[in-house]
């Protein structure tokens, strides 16, 4: 039994003179939900395609569920995947589309019906795929990915086109699968969602892995922002001087002083402000979100 769901070393894909993925190296433990993030064109989908045997790596090695990615027939029966949006036959119904894949994989048709219900398409399974809304197509794609009752689920932007309820349902579904021991490797642009469900993260920028590890470890690297707001705006200047006197960098935004430091400075500044005759109307500390961290790490420097 492998301990890693996915492991890649120096995985590289070059198209002509364009390097789509460059020496990607990361490990994803079994039984975890791992977020896969990066700006458009950073190489996420190319990496996923290499993991699924759809494209051949130019260099490097990798394993999925302990098997070499150059032999996808050894592991794909245990993997469910939705890559770059749902793709199905428009003239077939949702149910028939799933049955095509069930025929190919040797899965029972009863699983097709139960999955249609699970993803909320129980009453529309007989409708042609071309009549589906984007959200319904996405749900069918997720049902298709779940057909093999996968040990590893790879989802590329699973919440595209879904309404807030749909997004929440997918989040719950991923949590449920993870609780039952399924490893989930999911790319998404909705970073707040990933922050909620991902224990691990792999972050790409321009084809290179710029972070791999626990989500909390990434967020812990970034400084919290403490916001201090005086009761009277005229005190902003004096309060800024007090904060700078303690060695903090300051920035005034929307009538409050923003200080890149944790909550422990609150008491110190509150006391100093009180001694200077300044009343504070609020002190709040905010941990950086994954989205803020993402922008900071992936912006062009």
């Amino acid at each position: 039994m492998p301990e890693l769901a996915i492991s890649v070393r120096d995985l590289t894909k070059v198209y002509g003179e364009q390097t789509a993925v460059s020496h990607a190296t990361f490990d994803i433990p079994l039984g975890t939900v791992c977020g896969f993030v990066g700006p458009n064109g950073s190489g996420k989908t190319t990496t996923i395609r290499m993991l699924l045997g759809l494209i051949s790596p130019t260099g490097g090695t990798g394993t999925v569920l302990g098997e070499d990615i150059r032999s996808p027939e050894e592991y794909l029966s245990r993997v469910g995947a939705m890559i770059e949006g749902p793709a199905f036959y428009p003239m077939l119904s949702g149910r028939e589309n799933l049955k095509v894949l069930a025929d190919l994989g040797g899965f029972s048709y009863s699983r097709v019906d139960s999955l249609l219900v699970k993803v909320g398409l129980g009453d529309r399974g007989g409708s042609k795929f071309k009549t589906y809304s984007l959200g319904m197509k996405q749900r069918l794609g997720i049902a298709a990915a779940l057909l093999p009752d996968p040990q590893l689920l790879i989802l590329d932007e699973p919440t595209n086109g879904l309404d807030p309820n749909g997004i929440q349902e997918i989040r719950e579904l991923i949590k449920e699968l993870a609780d039952n021991g399924t490893s989930v490797f999911v790319s998404s642009h909705i970073l707040s969602e990933l922050e909620m469900i991902s224990e691990y993260l792999v972050m790409l920028r321009k084809g290179k892995v710029i972070f791999t590890g626990r989500t909390q470890e990434l967020l812990g690297r970034q400084k919290a922002i403490t916001s201090i707001r005086p009761e009277y705006q005229v005190d902003l200047g004096k309060l800024t001087e007090i904060a700078q006197g303690f060695g903090y960098e300051t920035q005034i935004e929307n009538g409050a002083i923003q200080i890149p430091a944790g909550a422990d400075l609150g008491a110190t500044l509150n006391r100093a402000a009180f001694e200077a005759g300044i009343t504070l109307s609020s002190i709040s500390t905010q941990q950086p979100t994954l989205e803020e961290t993402f922008f900071e790490m992936t912006e062009d420097k």
Partner: protein, 265 residues
Amino acid sequence: MLKVIKAELRKMKRPSLLYVNIGILSALSLLFTSLVFLRAGSSVGNHRRGSETIQTVASLGKFDGGYFTFSLMSLFLGLIALTVFASQSSNEYTYGTLRNLLVRQPSRMKLLGGKFLAMVIFTFLLVSFVAILNIGLSFAESTHLHISTTLWTSGKAVHAFLNLFGNTLLATVGYGLVGMALGIILKSPMSSISISLLWFMVLENILGAVLPSATKWLPGNAISGISAGGAKIFSYERALITSALYLLLFGGLATLLFKRRDVAS
């Protein structure tokens, strides 16, 4: 492989593909049978080029009269097989469904082989349907003209029909294989169907007219030679060998591309 065949046949039995093709072939069968039997022995002739009379009541009463109209259907069967094979293979690229298939069946050779065999089964059913329909219609028409059908069911007739059926099936699959190969190479149903139809229906005829010596090397003529069981310009054996060479070339290139090409869309 059986799983792939089952999955492919599920896609091919969709009404828009199955019933449309059955409808077209039924209409053509009805048209040809009606024309052949109504104009048998016509004083104005029934040869396609004019006044010559090639089908008479007497000739339709011979052992091959029962399946004569079926023999006229081979080109249409071939063109339908070509469009079906081309669209079934290239649509996997345009719909993006090839990636789903490859995730569930990572062996590309098994997938390609299964797809081809499923299309051969589909073709066999279609050719069988057309044969049964044409023979049935011929029997029905024969009563109006009081044509004797005694020889139609003779051992010689059955043997000759089975030969014709086999050759028609082989030629139809040949046309289909060209469509399938072009579908995979070009990854577009529109391009693969239009280019192959343009070649078989127009360019080959022009080339044959301009350069008669090239006629016996053209793929369409070779495949037609199979269905006809040999022709003036092509012996049956030469038609088989020439077609096989073309199909090996196109099929080999398509197989190589299908096996090696990245699925990036």
